[in-house]
Symmetry: C2
Subunit: 158 residues, 2 copies
C-alpha cells in the first residue's frame, strides 16, 4: 500500500491556489513517500501576428520587458508556494515546474508526463461572464486527466 505518490499542485498568483496547496499539505501528505510537484503555467506570449494585421508592432524592448515580467511572476508564485510548504515543517520532496501556454491544456499534459497520481487545484469563484469567456480550468481537467482531481474551494472566511 505504501508506494510513492506524486501529487501535482497547479499554482498561480491567486490566493485560491495557495489555499489549495496548504489544504493538500494538511490532508494528503500523511505519508512520507509523497513527492509534491508544483506546476506554474505562464500565459502564452501575445499573438504578434494578429497585432501585425492591425499595423501595430511591438518594439523589441517591449517584448523583452513582457517576458521579464512573466518570468518574475513565475518566480514570485514559486516563492509564495515555498513559504506555504515551509510553514508545514514537512520533509516532503518538492519538484518545481514552469510551463507555458493555455493553463488547462498544459496542466493535463503535465499530469501525464510527470506521472502524477493526484492533481490538486484551487477553485476560482469567477462570476458568470468570466466563466463563460474563459471556461473553467477544473471542468476541463476533470474531463481530460486520468488521475483523481481535487478541486479545493477557499472558504469565504479564510
Amino acid at each position: 500500500m505504501v508506494k510513492e505518490r506524486r501529487i501535482l499542485v497547479a499554482v498561480d498568483e491567486s490566493e485560491e491556489s495557495m489555499y489549495a496547496l496548504s489544504w493538500c499539505l494538511t490532508n494528503l501528505l500523511s505519508l512520507n513517500t509523497t513527492t509534491l510537484l508544483l506546476l506554474y503555467v505562464k500565459p502564452p506570449p501575445p499573438a504578434y501576428s494578429s497585432l501585425d494585421a492591425t499595423e501595430y508592432l511591438f518594439a523589441g524592448d517591449a517584448i523583452a520587458s513582457m517576458e521579464k515580467y512573466s518570468r518574475e511572476l513565475a518566480n514570485s508564485v514559486m516563492s509564495r508556494a515555498e513559504e506555504v510548504y515551509r510553514d508545514f515543517n514537512t520533509s516532503v520532496k518538492v519538484e518545481k515546474k514552469v510551463g507555458s501556454g493555455d493553463a488547462k491544456e498544459v496542466i493535463c499534459v503535465a499530469v501525464e508526463k510527470l506521472g502524477a497520481d493526484i492533481l490538486v487545484m484551487g477553485s476560482h469563484d469567477y462570476g458568470f461572464f468570466k466563466r463563460a469567456l474563459l471556461g473553467s480550468v477544473s471542468d476541463y481537467c476533470a474531463k481530460h486527466v486520468k488521475c483523481p482531481l481535487v478541486v479545493v474551494k477557499r472558504p469565504k472566511n479564510v
Copy 2:
C-alpha cells in the same frame, strides 16, 4: 491539526463510485478521526402527472413495485459499499444516508447539512450525448459545494 473530518462519498450502482470509495479509503483515511458518510441518492419517482396527460395510468401495484425496486437498489448499493470498506480493515466510523431526487442537487444539500469537509465522487466517463443530456454531476458539484471536491477516475485497467 487533528480534528474530526467528515468525508462524504456519493455512491451509486456504478463501479466508478465503488472505485472512488476505495480510493478514498486508501488515500484520505490516514487519520483515525475520520467519519465516512456514504450517500446514495434514489432517482426521483416518475412524474405521474405527465403520464396522465397521455391517458396512461400506473396501476397501484406497478407504483408499489417500482418503489420496492428502488429500495432494493439502495440496499444493494450500500451492501456493495460495505464490502469495499470491510476489505480495508479500518475502524472508521460510517454513517449511511439515502436521499431521493436529482442526485447533483441532493448531494450539494447533503454536504451542507451533514457538515462534510470533503466530498468524494467517481467520474462516469459518459459519451458526448449522455453528457449533453444529463450534464455532469461533478461539474455541478464543483460549482455549488463549498468544501473540497475529489473527482476520482477509475483507471481503464482496473
